[in-house]
């Protein structure tokens, strides 16, 4: 019961970007995933990629309103990583049936589908942002990603006042929206 509460607390912390919770989750689960990947033709970099992706999926799940913890965290993380890694192996044509699986797994197909959709959206936004060019990209990143306020941004980018910066931001935003929706609607 205590362990369960603890896991709940960790997930709550993760959803709130609490660095202590993230650290604890990382520490508790990474080695298991790393040895799994290494045991199955993966490298250290693969292990890190896959694990971090699983953490993102867990984060999305923890944030979603319909979130319920149906298994232990490590089982969940392991299951996600296993699916992701299998997929990756399939993609590079090194898929072998003999993938090690002695640990128990839970079905994560649905969650992964959501996660993949999210990933696609992320990629579209990323591409749109990157094709904006400077200073639009940095300005928008500063405002929306780094959550800086306009005064600060104006100073950083050398605008004479915050209003000018704001105006510039909206111009950029209109361009970004165009780029984003062009891709996004194709994707739909």
């Amino acid at each position: 019961m205590k362990a369960e509460l603890n896991e709940q607390a960790l997930l709550k912390g993760l959803a709130n970007n609490d660095s202590k919770a993230i650290e604890a989750l990382y520490k508790d689960n990474f080695n298991m995933v790393q040895s799994f990947i290494l045991n199955n033709n993966g490298s250290y970099d693969d292990a890190r990629d896959i694990f971090q992706e699983a953490m993102i999926a867990l984060y999305e799940k923890a944030k979603s309103e319909s979130f319920v913890l149906t298994s232990k965290i490590n089982t969940y993380v392991y299951s996600i990583c296993r699916r992701l890694w299998l997929k990756r192996l399939q993609q590079i044509g090194r898929y072998s049936n003999q993938i090690d699986s002695l640990e128990e797994t839970v079905s994560v197909e649905e969650d992964l589908e959501i996660h993949e959709k999210r990933n696609a959206e992320f990629a579209i936004m990323d591409r749109a942002l990157n094709s904006l060019g400077e200073p639009c990209k940095s300005l928008l990143e500063g405002y929306y990603v780094k959550k800086m306020d306009m005064q600060h941004l104006a100073k950083e980018f050398g605008y004479t006042n915050a209003d000018n910066a704001k105006n510039q931001k909206y111009k950029c935003l209109i361009r970004l929206k165009k780029l984003f929706f062009a891709q996004y609607n194709i994707g739909e």
Partner: protein, 369 residues
């Protein structure tokens, strides 16, 4: 420019930073202008995407930092360069389970083989078998006895563990019993039981491992010493072919066995022993070997493992020698006197046995837990 202002308005509206009047006006505008309404929805969706995007980016950044931090702290590690050492570690990780299984199988096989080797190798010591009773046998017997005898419990301390057993016989009517030292191996005290199943406490007063002899003294108020022993101890030499017999407790009841003296030395020319042509069994150890006149010629102790019906007895001379020796060291033992005259000489065997039965005991050796 108009787009810009509109967007700004929409963003403020969605942020909730509009003043109430302005908000009411904007909502009115939204209601009446489908285009603006559409723009609000679209922008809200976009902002949501933006939020998700920034969340994910921030999280990725955080994860990356945590990763570096944990590696620095050594909580996780990536084991050096992947192409050289890493490869080996990967191979190791990949095959360690197989290796572990192979190693344990190998280990088990090695143990089994060495175990079998030890078991089947005829060690020199194993040629002779001591005729002490194995603990299980004695224990079982003890249980059956305790059913008959309520006294068993009272005569033994609660924490006594049975270590072995054999036979023994009186060498002095005052309650001195001789037996084999190996019967008492690993024990600190003993009980003796006669053929009537009367049980007496006995103290181990001397052990001579070299001669494989030991002396017990009955220290029990229930024991009533007789005036003299029916048998004597023979000092003179004995001839091959002389008929001998023994009494002992290979079972819980006193058992008679007879045979002949077949050699004047024991196993491998051991001059301290007689070789007997006699069937002796575990439990016979420590029993008296007597000649036809009822004189003790030795103490039955071992048998040859790979020959049927060959047993060895410690010559009675050794009892004399031992007692002489201990008299020097322990004056309380000066009371022990070995008689040489046998009062059952000339009687027939059944009468001889009847008279001496009470002097032969089942010895049970115990240790404290």
């Amino acid at each position: 420019m108009e787009d810009n202002l509109l967007l700004q308005a929409i963003e403020r509206y969605l942020d909730g930073t509009m003043l109430p009047a302005e908000k009411a006006y904007f909502e009115e505008l939204r209601k009446n202008t489908p285009e603006i309404d559409q723009m609000v929805v679209e922008h809200s969706m976009f902002l949501h995407q933006m939020d998700l995007y920034s969340d994910q980016r921030n999280l990725k950044h955080q994860l990356h930092e945590v990763h570096t931090k944990l590696i620095e702290r050594g909580d996780i590690n990536e084991g050096g360069e992947l192409n050289t050492r890493g490869r080996v570690i990967q191979l190791y990780n990949k095959y360690k389970r197989v290796t572990a299984i192979a190693a344990s199988v190998g280990g088990v096989i090695a143990l089994v083989i060495s175990g079998l080797t030890v078991y089947f190798t005829p060690a020199n010591n194993n040629q002779l078998q001591e005729l002490r009773r194995e603990v299980e046998v004695v224990k079982r017997n003890q249980q059956s006895q305790s059913a008959k005898l309520n006294e068993v419990d009272s005569k033994l301390p609660k924490d006594a563990i049975l270590t072995g057993g054999g036979s023994g016989f009186l060498i002095d009517a005052k309650g001195y019993i001789i037996t084999n030292a190996h019967v008492l191996k690993g024990s600190s005290f003993a009980n003796v039981i006669n053929d009537n199943h009367d049980e007496f406490k006995a103290k181990i007063i001397y052990r001579d491992e070299a001669r494989d002899l030991a002396i017990l003294k009955i220290e029990d108020e229930d024991y009533k010493p007789s005036k003299s022993l029916p048998y004597g101890f023979r000092k003179t030499d004995i001839d091959l072919g002389e008929e001998v017999f023994t009494l002992g407790y290979p079972r819980n009841d006193i058992t008679y066995n007879k045979g002949d003296l077949s050699a004047k030395t024991g196993y491998n020319g051991d001059s301290t022993r007689w070789q007997l042509e006699m069937n002796a069994n575990p439990g016979n150890s420590g029993g008296p070997v007597l000649d036809k006149n009822g004189e003790v010629i030795g103490v039955l102790s071992t048998r040859e493992k790979h020959a049927e019906g060959v047993a060895f007895a410690i010559k009675s001379k050794n009892i004399f020698k031992m007692i002489e020796e201990i008299k020097d060291t322990d004056s309380s033992l000066e009371k022990i006197k070995l008689v040489s005259r046998s009062s059952i000489k000339g009687k027939d065997r059944a009468d001889q046995i009847k008279e001496m039965e009470d002097c032969v005991f089942l010895v049970q050796a115990f240790n404290k837990k």
